[in-house]
C-alpha cells in the first residue's frame, strides 16, 4: 500500500522537476551556443577582414564608412602583392628550407629514437636525461652563440644557416621514442632471428606503425619553417635568401600613412593560405601533435 503511494508521488514530482529542469536545460543550451558562436565570430573576424580588405580598391578601403563586402573585386591586388613582396622567391626559399630540414630532421630523429627505444648501451639513461634537460633552456640562450658560430662558419646568407642549427629536436626524439616503445619487443627479436637488418626492420615495421607521430612531426616542422622570424632575420641579409615571414614584414613595413593596405592584406592572405590548406587536410595530426608539444612550430 504505502509503497504504491510513494511511487505515484515520486512520479508526479519527477515530472514537475523534469519539466522545470528541461526548460532550464534548453535555456542553458541556447546560452552556450550563443556564447560559442559569438566567440567563434570574434576569432574569425580578422580572417574575414583580411580577405575582404584584400579585394577592395584603395579608394574603397579608405572610405569613411566601411563596406563589408567589396563593391568591386580587385584581384589585381594579389598580382601586385606577389610582385611587390617578391613572394615567389620567398615561397621557393621557404619551401626548400622546410622540405630539406624536415627530411634531415626526420632521419636524425628516427635513428636516435630507435637507438633509445630498442638498443641497449652504456649510459643510455644518463644520455636521455641529459637530452631532456636541454629542453628546459629557452631558445634565446642558444641563439646568441649560434649566431656567432654561423657567422664564423661564413654561413650568413646561406641555406645551411637556416637549416642546420635546428635539425635536432629533443622533443621529437622523445615523442617518437615513446611511440616506438609501444611496439612490442618480440617483433624486433623475431625480425633479428629471421636475419632482418635493423634498417630494414625500421623501414618495414617501425616507421609504418609510428606514421601518425611522424606526420605530426613533419607538419610541425614545416609550420616552423613557415612561421620562423627571429633566426632567419638574424642570418639573412640579402633579400634573395629571406624566408616568407621576414620578406613579408620587410616588404610591407609601413603601418602609418600611405600604406596600401589592400595589397598588404593580399600578401598576408597569400602567405596564410598554404598553412590553412595543410590544416584543413591534416587537422587531426596537427592537433594531436600540438596538444603534446605545447610549442608553436
Amino acid at each position: 500500500m504505502e509503497n504504491k503511494n510513494m511511487k505515484t508521488l515520486t512520479a508526479k514530482d519527477l515530472q514537475q522537476v523534469s519539466t522545470a529542469s528541461r526548460v532550464m536545460g534548453i535555456l542553458v543550451k541556447i546560452g552556450t551556443y550563443a556564447f560559442l558562436i559569438a566567440m567563434a565570430l570574434i576569432v574569425l573576424f580578422p580572417f574575414y577582414w583580411m580577405i575582404i580588405s584584400s579585394l577592395k580598391s584603395t579608394a574603397e578601403y579608405r572610405r569613411n564608412i566601411p563596406t563589408f563586402w567589396p563593391e568591386q573585386f580587385v584581384f589585381a591586388n594579389y598580382a601586385q602583392a606577389f610582385e611587390e613582396g617578391n613572394l615567389w622567391q620567398l615561397f621557393k626559399n621557404t619551401a626548400f628550407v622546410g622540405v630539406v630540414s624536415t627530411i634531415l630532421s626526420l632521419v636524425i630523429t628516427i635513428l636516435s629514437a630507435f637507438a633509445f627505444a630498442r638498443l641497449e648501451f652504456k649510459g643510455k639513461d644518463l644520455m636521455f636525461g641529459a637530452l631532456l634537460a636541454t629542453m628546459m633552456i629557452p631558445g634565446e640562450l642558444f641563439t646568441i652563440t649560434n649566431y656567432l658560430t654561423v657567422t664564423n662558419l661564413k654561413w650568413i646568407d646561406t641555406f645551411a644557416a637556416l637549416i642546420v642549427p635546428f635539425l635536432v629536436s629533443v622533443f621529437y626524439i622523445y615523442l617518437l621514442k615513446q611511440n616506438f616503445m609501444q611496439i612490442p619487443n618480440e617483433l624486433y627479436l623475431a625480425a633479428k632471428v629471421d636475419g632482418t637488418s635493423d634498417l630494414k626492420y625500421l623501414w618495414k615495421v617501425m616507421i609504418p606503425l609510428a606514421l601518425p607521430t611522424l606526420i605530426s612531426i613533419t607538419i610541425l616542422k614545416m609550420m616552423g619553417a613557415w612561421n620562423s622570424y627571429i633566426w632567419p632575420k638574424l642570418v639573412t641579409k640579402k633579400e634573395s635568401m629571406m624566408l616568407v615571414t621576414n620578406g613579408l614584414r620587410n616588404a610591407f613595413t609601413s603601418v602609418d600613412g600611405q600604406a596600401n593596405i589592400p595589397v598588404q592584406m593580399a600578401a598576408v592572405a597569400i602567405v596564410s593560405a598554404p598553412l590553412f590548406m595543410v590544416f584543413l587536410f591534416l587537422r587531426k595530426y596537427i592537433m594531436a601533435g600540438v596538444s603534446r608539444s605545447g610549442i608553436k612550430g
Binding site: T32, L36, F121, N146, V164, T245, L248, V255, M265
Partner: protein, 318 residues
C-alpha cells in the same frame, strides 16, 4: 659479441643527433654563460689582427643590462603583457572549452574554428590586426580621417569616441590594449585544445553522481570540473607565462621592427627584443650584454615557473 656490436651501433645511430647537439645546444650554453661573465665581451674583437683579448671576469655585463636606461621600461612591458594576457586567455579558454564540451552538434566544427589562429603566422596576422586598428588620413586637429579603422568604426557605432590605437601620437595604454587583444587571440587555440582534451578525459561518473545529488551547474563547475582539470590549467598557465616572458614577434607583427609607434620607437620593446637588439648592436660589449640579458631572462623564467609550481602544488589535485 652481440652486445658489443649493439653498443657500437647505438652510438652510430645517435651520432648525427649528438654532434649537432654538441655544436648547437651544449656549446651555446657553455659559451653564453662564459660570455656573460667576461666584462664587455665583444665577439670577433681583435681576431682580424690575430690578437686574443683577455677579458676580465666579472658581472659588469649584468650591471650594464640593469643600468640600461630603458631596462625598466622593457621589464615593465614584458611583465605587463604576461600578467594581463595569461589570466584573460586562461579564463576565456576555460569557458570556451567547458561550453564546447557540453554540446554535441557543431562541436567538431566550432573546435576547428577555435583552433584556426594557431595555424597562422603571428607576423602576418599581426599585420591584419594592425590594419584593423589603423587610422588612415587623420586631419583637422585629429577629428577627421579617411578611415578610422574597423575597430574605431565599431566604437563610434556604439557612440564612443575613436581612439588613436597604434599611429603616431598614440598613448602607451592604447598600444598595450592592442597587444593584449592580439596576444590573447593568439594564445586561445592552444589553451582551448589542451583544456578540452582534459575535460574529455574526466570520468563521467562524477557528473552522474552530482546530478543524482541535484548539484547546481555552478557548483559542478567549481567543485568538480575545475579541480579535476587543475593539472591541465596549471600546465597552460605555466606555459603561458613562459611564452609571455618571451613575447616578441607579435609586437613586430603589429608595430614592425620599430617595436612601437613611429613617434616612440622601442616603447614596447621586451626582454627578447632587447637581447636581439644588443646582439646586433655592433658596439663594444654587445655580445656580453646580450648573453647577460639572456641569462637574466632564463633566471626570471625559472623563478616564475618555480613559483607557479609551488602554487599549483597547493591547488592542483592530481
Amino acid at each position: 659479441m652481440v652486445e658489443s656490436k649493439h653498443q657500437w651501433k647505438a652510438w652510430l645511430y645517435l651520432s648525427p643527433a649528438i654532434i649537432l647537439l654538441l655544436v648547437f645546444t651544449v656549446w651555446p650554453i657553455i659559451n653564453t654563460v662564459a660570455m656573460a661573465f667576461q666584462n664587455n665581451y665583444t665577439a670577433g674583437l681583435g681576431t682580424a689582427k690575430g690578437v686574443k683579448i683577455a677579458y676580465e671576469i666579472g658581472v659588469e655585463n649584468f650591471v650594464n643590462v640593469l643600468q640600461y636606461e630603458n631596462f625598466g621600461q622593457i621589464l615593465k612591458n614584458t611583465m605587463l603583457l604576461c600578467v594581463a594576457t595569461v589570466p584573460i586567455s586562461t579564463v576565456l579558454a576555460l569557458l570556451i572549452a567547458v561550453a564546447l564540451n557540453s554540446i554535441r552538434p557543431l562541436q567538431k566544427f566550432l573546435q576547428t574554428i577555435f583552433f584556426l589562429p594557431y595555424v597562422t603566422n603571428s607576423i602576418a596576422i599581426g599585420m591584419v590586426f594592425a590594419a584593423m586598428f589603423n587610422i588612415i588620413g587623420l586631419r583637422e586637429g585629429n577629428t577627421v580621417a579617411d578611415t578610422w579603422g574597423i575597430i574605431n568604426n565599431a566604437i563610434m557605432l556604439f557612440g564612443g569616441k575613436p581612439i588613436n590605437w597604434i599611429n603616431q601620437g598614440s598613448t602607451y595604454w592604447a598600444n598595450m590594449v592592442v597587444m593584449i587583444v592580439y596576444i590573447v587571440w593568439n594564445a586561445l587555440p592552444f589553451k582551448i585544445l589542451v583544456l578540452l582534451g582534459g575535460l574529455q578525459s574526466i570520468n563521467k561518473q562524477y557528473y552522474e553522481a552530482a546530478r543524482v545529488d541535484g548539484t547546481s551547474r555552478r557548483r559542478i563547475l567549481t567543485r568538480i570540473t575545475v579541480p579535476l582539470l587543475s593539472p591541465m590549467i596549471a600546465y597552460v598557465v605555466i606555459t603561458g607565462f613562459i611564452g609571455g616572458f618571451k613575447e616578441y614577434s607579435s609586437i613586430v607583427g603589429i608595430f614592425g621592427d620599430t617595436m612601437g609607434p613611429k613617434s616612440e620607437p622601442g616603447r614596447l620593446n621586451t626582454m627578447v627584443g632587447f637581447i636581439y637588439d644588443s646582439l646586433n648592436a655592433g658596439t663594444i660589449g654587445a655580445q656580453g650584454k646580450a648573453s647577460a640579458a639572456a641569462l637574466l631572462l632564463f633566471g626570471i623564467i625559472l623563478v616564475v615557473t618555480m613559483i607557479n609550481l609551488q602554487v599549483s602544488k597547493k591547488r592542483v589535485h592530481y
